[in-house]
Structure formats: C-alpha cells, structure tokens
Subunit: 137 residues, 2 copies
C-alpha cells in the first residue's frame, strides 16, 4: 500500500503520521494473525521496544487497532475492520491455535447472546475460542 494511503488511514483516526507509525501500520496490514509486542519488535529490530509499545497504545486509543487477551500471557494486537467503532456490534470472536500459537480475529463470527442473572449489568464481552486453526488442521 502506498505511503499516501497509509497516511490517510492514520489521519482519518487523528493520528499524526510519523515514519515509525507508517512502518507499524504497514506491518500490521501484512499480518493475517494478531501480533504481540515482541513479534513486532523482532520484525523491526531497529525500532525501540518502548516506542513500539506506545505506538500500539496510541493506535488502540484512536480506534485503529484493538487488543486481544488470548491467555498466552502476551497481549496481541490486530487492525480493526474498516468502519469499526469498537462498539458492541463490532465485537467478534477470537481464535487461538493451540498448535501454532497464532491468534486470529473472526470478524464474521459475532458473539452469541446469553442470559445473565438480572442485576448483573453487562458492559463488555470477551470470547476466546481455542483449538486447532485451519492451517494446522
């Protein structure tokens, strides 16, 4: 993707397009699985770990990416779908492969409804499915 397009993606979310941010955004777009901070770090060895951390934090605050808590111990990050507002209706299932350890967004799989006892006020839902992914099957 051209620099111009990347810059527009950032600007649309009110993120100043710096060199570092363009690199990270490009990197995220190339992934088909969610990435951890460490993975991003290893992909761009010249980049500083902390800057990378803060870049991801910024991206998340601005709604460009979302984080996934897959139980592996390391938080993963993935680009939001186009038009995502990180609203309840944008929530989706995540899948963690017990074989290759990759974590995938399943944007097509909405989180099914369930009934909590009354007086429990629901605000967020995180549904992690685990098993063997399509590539490892």
């Amino acid at each position: 993707m051209k620099i111009k397009e990347l810059e527009q993606l950032l600007s649309a979310r009110h993120i100043k397009p710096t060199a570092m941010r363009l690199l990270v955004l490009e990197y995220l777009q190339q992934q088909n699985a969610a990435v951890s901070l460490k993975e991003a770090e290893e992909a761009y060895e010249k980049a500083d770990r902390i800057t990378l951390y803060r870049t991801l934090k910024t991206f998340e605050e601005k709604g460009l990416i979302h984080h996934i808590d897959d139980g592996s111990g390391a938080t993963k990050y993935a680009l939001c779908e186009e038009g995502c507002q990180c609203a309840p209706e944008d929530l989706h299932v995540h899948f963690h492969c017990n074989s290759c350890q990759k974590t995938f967004c399943m944007p097509k799989v909405a989180i099914p409804a369930f009934q909590l006892p009354s007086r429990f006020n629901l605000q967020e839902i995180n549904l992690m499915a685990k098993g063997i992914c399509a590539d490892c099957f």
Copy 2:
C-alpha cells in the same frame, strides 16, 4: 466443614491431604468469588507464596479447581462444581465486575453455541463477561 469431609474431597481427586492443602481447600470453599494467588497469600500470611502456587497448580491438575483468565493480569482460581469433569459441558460464563474487581463463576450460564468457519477445530472456550455485579449495582 469438618476435616474429615475436606480430606475426602481431596482423596476423591487423588490429592494427598496435607495440612496446607486442607487449609487452602477450606479457604476456597469460604469464597464467593474467584481468588488470585495474591489474595490467598494475604489470607494466610504464614503460608509460603510458592507452596500456595504449587498447591493451586496441583488442585487444578487434579480437577478440583479451575483457573479463570479475567484480563486483570492475575489469574484467578475457583472450586469446580461438584461432579465437574472440566469437560465441554462443564464450561460456563465468568463475570468480572469493573467496580469491585471481583470475578465470579456463573455455573448456571452455559456458553452459547456459535459457528466457526469449518476447518477450525474447537477445543476450549473462555467467555468473560464484564460489567457491574449484583452487589455493586
């Protein structure tokens, strides 16, 4: 609960009933919310943190308790229901209160079904609901 009964609970799961384990089991039974290692540690100051850690590990391996990854950063533990085999049908929703920070098992709330793309082989599910609990509402 009497020592005898606690010992039987442990023996039924093939866990040798030591003094430490009886204490921890009794402590777990008194809780209405899942507990973290730190909380257990503070409740029994004379107990060693590592021993506590290994006790919980043992309990989990033997199917007496299960752990809950509520996204708070600290793993929580809770007793399994009587007769639980930690099988798919024993899975249930967990609720984390954003106000009091407690995490509850909802053994009555089964995890609803959802459809993954074929070729994704499902093995485990972790459904964390978050919001305001009945006590804080």
